[in-house]
Symmetry: C2
Subunit: 309 residues, 2 copies
Amino acid sequence: MTAPQRILVVGSVALDSIRTPYGQVDDALGGSASYFSFSASHFAPVSVVAVVGEDFPTAHRARFETRGVDLAGLETARGRTFRWRGEYLAELGHAHTLETQLNVFAEFHPKLGDAHRRTPFVFLANIDPELQLEVLDQIRRPELTLSDTMNYWIARKPDRVFEVLRRVDIALLNEEEARALAGETHLARAAERLLEQGANAVIIKKGEHGALFQSREERFITPAYPVTALVDPTGAGDSFAGGFIGMLARCGRTDGGALRQAMACGTALASLAIESFSPERLLETSTDEIEGRVRALHSMVHFDLFPMF
Amino acid sequence: MTAPQRILVVGSVALDSIRTPYGQVDDALGGSASYFSFSASHFAPVSVVAVVGEDFPTAHRARFETRGVDLAGLETARGRTFRWRGEYLAELGHAHTLETQLNVFAEFHPKLGDAHRRTPFVFLANIDPELQLEVLDQIRRPELTLSDTMNYWIARKPDRVFEVLRRVDIALLNEEEARALAGETHLARAAERLLEQGANAVIIKKGEHGALFQSREERFITPAYPVTALVDPTGAGDSFAGGFIGMLARCGRTDGGALRQAMACGTALASLAIESFSPERLLETSTDEIEGRVRALHSMVHFDLFPMF
């Protein structure tokens, strides 16, 4: 096994106030880059490029350090940290955003140092597609780039979202985003449409129904790991991304076999993320627990083909 | 390979008038027993117990005969055949029932002949749970019994639905039915609740998201086969049941390995059913095409576990 390769994530570090039927938290550590890097850090070293305000608690910063995450690219800007307040109702499927304060994030432009530009595995978390393109302009010959987005950008800057989609190796979308961007309600057709429009590969996240990988060569489906202790769905997608790219960076492979197991790793990390508020479970989990969930998923989907006719 | 064993289905044979965004049909052959038996007949011999009216077209009857389906138990009663009229809107997820005429079905009581009572594999399609219990009282030492139901009966006769659930080997439900019957929105928990309440095993059908098998010993998930030529979702569940029990009857096995491949067979047949109005595709498909879809599903979910940590 070669040494795990480094992963760069450009995204948000935020303070989240969240209410679900199972409880609530205020100003808890959140943001796409947090969920992503805690997940990925179980597989490979991670560098974060993001911005926080002067009010960002030292205790939150320490959590990245316990996971060995490189914070050289975490800028501290004058002002307050990005804040999000949301609520999940009984179904837990959709977050209802109650308040978004961009704060220091409003002026954020990711500036990559020389080492960051050469990081082989890159995750462009959900930020303005213009910023994602700025990052793509700065990085040099990466092994694999993965992007995320959200309906907000699809509605406002669809052309830029498509430009990102065409430039990255794999684009991550949830089912509503895939439908909106493809203009097609049926998911299998939506995935094909996105490839026709220039995406190299897409992963469509379907929440409790799992995820679908599709490229011109491969189609692969992973069910969700059946969590019964669901507490807070926030960060499931970014945790998926962290487990997915984490596995690829760990084994230094991007072939079909690796992508398939990486989908299972993403699924395992997403299932852990939603069992607590904030990324707590991602911090306290172990490689044994992660491997146990990947094995369980394998056994849930596996079947032996024996002759039928 | 031993000879395929016989399957008995007790359900409806109907005349369906359906409109979807892709077209419409009037008085087309429909009903749970039709979709089921055309699907299952690719695997094993099938006997139907159902009722039609004097107006049931000879051409429809001939279709069962081309598939070698035993119609000795298809009663012709005085009056008109059961009719259903429904519509699917753009999303195609839910049928909107415009009209149901029970007609001869209103007075139907399944009477099983001696041969039918000894059929080893039995499917109790969606009919009044009182009738399903009447059938269970008549059959003798079956290898495997599978039941279906619908929200209509869960709302009106939940105790009877539970009684059926406890007496059959496997209960088939769609996700809304599982949630309603378990009183639990989260599907993994709903499946566990149904087992706690006495079900031996459940299969929860999730439409385009596939199906989940759960018993005390096994949990198995199959994604849907990604159909892009979706025309009419009617009959998908019954076609799933036909492929599922068909495979088991064909190989004469009910162990975990067989159940897993049977889920894939059910999924393949459901995907064929929805590519045309009425059970047309089920009639014209071939064992090669079915096997091709089962292999494709296998390749979509399969991943090799290689060491991660």
